[in-house]
């Protein structure tokens, strides 16, 4: 048979222990109280929580604290965009700072089949490692290596690798710049982007002479300067450039 006393004892003991602990915690919460800035809490609530680090802080909570103190600008949150910037301005009660949209743009247009290789690479399949080990297995020393360091680093899943070339989805890209620092050949840059307007870019980073580029890449910039000339004389300069470029390395994104 169950001894009722054991149950009562247990309930009593646990009850007293619980009550005592609650009492101690209530005292501790008063004694060791940390004054939290309600504004930091509020900013933290509206931040996207991606912890991408584009703002320059360690993460979203860190940014909330720094923004509340005024150490970082209120429009520094790239994924949040204009919405978050104005919300932070409201919370802090200061003037809105405005927000320019930026998108990552890849300055190389040669895909897997167009690249000319001068050696086989069998090491770690990472761009940075490849660049470090042999300085590039491609003839072009400026172009995309195609192992997708940018694809792996993107926190917003905005990059897809198509035929060994990163394609950036502007709907998902927030302009955090993680891919920019991930690329060992520095071929990704952040460009100003206005909603609805097309973005033009030069899909080549080569600094080689035109004659060299022509030999090693079918879509590389050959420095013919036709774009410079057309741009000066035309009404819709970029569109004309896209049409006139002989190697089609100026593209509309």
């Amino acid at each position: 048979m169950i001894d009722i006393n054991i149950i009562i004892n247990a309930i009593l003991l646990m009850g007293i222990l619980g009550a005592f602990s609650a009492f101690m915690i209530s005292i501790a919460s008063k004694v060791f109280h940390v004054a939290l800035n309600p504004k930091v809490e509020a900013i933290n609530q509206i931040l996207p929580g991606a912890n991408c680090g584009a703002c320059g802080a360690g993460g979203c909570t860190d940014y909330a604290e720094k923004a509340a103190k005024g150490l970082l600008p209120i429009n520094a949150c790239r994924p949040g965009g204009a919405k978050v910037a104005s919300a932070i301005a409201q919370i802090l009660g200061i003037e809105e700072a405005g927000f320019t949209h930026k998108k990552a743009v890849v300055h190389c247009g040669a895909n897997e089949t167009q690249r000319i290789k001068r050696a086989e690479y069998a090491g770690i399949p990472k761009c940075r490692e490849e660049e470090l080990a042999v300085g590039g297995y491609l003839e072009c020393t400026y172009g995309c290596l195609g192992f997708g360091d940018c694809y792996l680093t993107c926190p917003f899943d905005a990059i897809t690798m198509i035929e060994g070339l990163p394609k950036i989805n502007f709907k998902k890209c927030t302009g955090c710049g993680k891919c920019v620092s991930a690329c060992p050949r520095n071929i990704i840059s952040l460009e100003k982007y206005d909603e609805g307007k097309p973005l033009y870019a030069i899909a080549c980073s080569s600094k080689d002479k035109g004659s060299v580029t022509r030999k090693i890449c079918p879509v590389g910039c050959i420095k013919c300067k036709i774009c410079e000339y057309k741009k000066a004389t035309d009404q819709t300069p970029w569109q004309t450039c896209v049409e006139k470029c002989p190697t089609k390395c100026i593209v509309k994104l």
Partner: protein, 442 residues
């Protein structure tokens, strides 16, 4: 009993290919490409312009920074171009291209220096610097920096490194056999410049012929010694040599100078002697061109700036299906992507492996056997370092003192999972270096 250190490996040495072949001087190249960075440290600025006529031994590139070494024209002729060219490191580096006029006129300033006894320490250092001498064993550290220790650091020992532990290479072996007097003169010069009392010539016990010659030559010289070290890789690493010979450990992040030792390659010593005797700066070097992919493997004396293609033609050209061309030894050497790359001051070998010999490592996950820890001559834990590199955990790599790794490749050699440990370690080192530089610029 030959002296040694803890760890290390015994790879197949393949030295028989070129061991008994005398050093042969290669014919004159028609064109040389001289990269302005052939040393550790600051890149030189060119002192000539396109169209200039240069003579053998003329200084064509220099820098005013301490850690740097000037570049000299290795042939006489006309400066054809100054443009970025492919460098053994894989990137494009500003280089001076000289087209030969076939005359090989020597520059007026080249004249023998007075004998060693009449030179002061400062003068020797200046001669070494002006001759553009760098560590010729592969690290390319400017020698004059090694010879000028800060006054608070007293140098007690000079170690001349003739161990040549890398498989395939025999250029130091042949040099010690054919020009031992030069090495001894160079050693004396180094000892005088660094202010050291003891000179040690370290030779691995697989070169008994050299040991005999050296011991005979230094008989009667009290402050010179030949020490026999065990044949083991990486016995030629400076930290390993110091540990084996003097039982001293170089502190983490420190230099051999910190324990009062300067280590120089035999090639460097011979070059210093050559400069003192003839006044000629560093314009040529001995390169072992070997491997199963070369028709006639040999030890060649080539002008610096000669392309590998030219050097290979001198050795009868390639044979069979070429798998890999490497600069330096097979353990630490750099794979090349083109045969147009010039031979620089620190390239001690060109190894051509056939397709069959090139193994592609599987890079499987670590199975925790601990073989790499046993093999590591520094006493690091390559298994954890590899994991840290693979997962981009740079903080962990730093905690495991990744910076002390000498990248000898023992861990990758013994790894049962065929992990690319050295690659991961290099990646971690590079990432930490980049971070440091970023912080500095901020």
């Amino acid at each position: 009993m030959a002296k040694s250190f803890k760890g290390g490996i015994h790879p197949p040495y393949h030295k028989n290919l070129t061991k008994d072949k005398e050093i042969r001087t290669a014919s004159e190249p028609k064109e040389v490409v001289l990269p302005l960075s052939q040393h550790t440290g600051t890149i030189c600025t060119p002192l000539v312009v396109v169209g200039d006529t240069v003579k053998v031994g003329q200084k064509i590139g220099d820098s005013d920074k301490l850690i740097s070494a000037p570049i000299h024209a290795s042939i006489s002729g006309k400066v054809k171009a100054i443009e970025p060219r492919l460098h053994p490191s894989g990137s494009k580096i500003l280089s001076i291209v000289i087209e030969s006029d076939g005359q090989n006129t020597v520059h007026e300033s080249i004249a023998p220096f007075p004998p060693l006894e009449k030179l002061t320490r400062e003068e020797i250092r200046k001669i070494v610097r002006n001759a553009g001498i760098v560590g010729m064993g592969g690290a390319a550290f400017p020698t004059h920096v090694k010879l000028s220790p800060p006054p608070e650091k007293k140098i007690s020992h000079i170690i001349i490194n003739g161990s040549e532990c890398e498989p395939y290479l025999t250029c130091d072996h042949r040099l010690m056999l054919e020009e031992p007097e030069k090495i001894i003169l160079g050693t004396k010069a180094i000892m005088k410049a660094a202010g050291a009392i003891n000179g040690i010539i370290a030779i691995e016990d697989n070169k008994p012929d050299v040991i005999k010659i050296m011991q005979k030559l230094i008989k009667g010289t009290l402050n010179l010694k030949v020490i026999i070290v065990k044949t083991k890789y990486p016995q030629g690493g400076e930290k390993q040599l110091i540990k084996a010979i003097l039982n001293k450990e170089v502190p983490s992040g420190g230099l051999p100078m910190d324990v009062g030792v300067v280590v120089n390659n035999v090639g460097t010593a011979a070059q210093i002697a050559k400069t003192l005797l003839t006044g000629m700066p560093l314009i040529d070097r001995i390169v072992t061109i070997t491997g199963s992919g070369v028709k006639n493997p040999s030890n060649l004396r080539v002008k610096i700036g000669t392309s590998i293609d030219f050097a290979l033609q001198e050795c009868g050209g390639l044979q069979g299906e070429t798998g890999k061309i490497m600069f330096g030894g097979p353990m630490m050497g750099l794979a090349q992507t083109s045969v147009d790359v010039p031979i620089t001051k620190y390239n001690n070998g060109v190894i051509v492996l056939s397709r069959k010999e090139v193994t592609i490592l599987r890079d499987d996950p670590c199975m925790r056997c601990g073989k790499c820890i046993e093999a590591c001559p520094i006493g690091l834990m390559p298994n954890f370092l590899g994991d840290a590199g693979q997962t981009s955990n740079w903080k962990r790599a730093k905690e495991l003192s990744v910076k002390d790794c000498i990248e000898c490749g023992c861990c990758t050699y013994v790894c049962g999972s065929e992990r690319l440990l050295v690659h991961y370690i290099k990646l971690a080192k590079n990432a930490l270096q980049n971070k440091l530089e970023k912080r500095k610029t901020k």
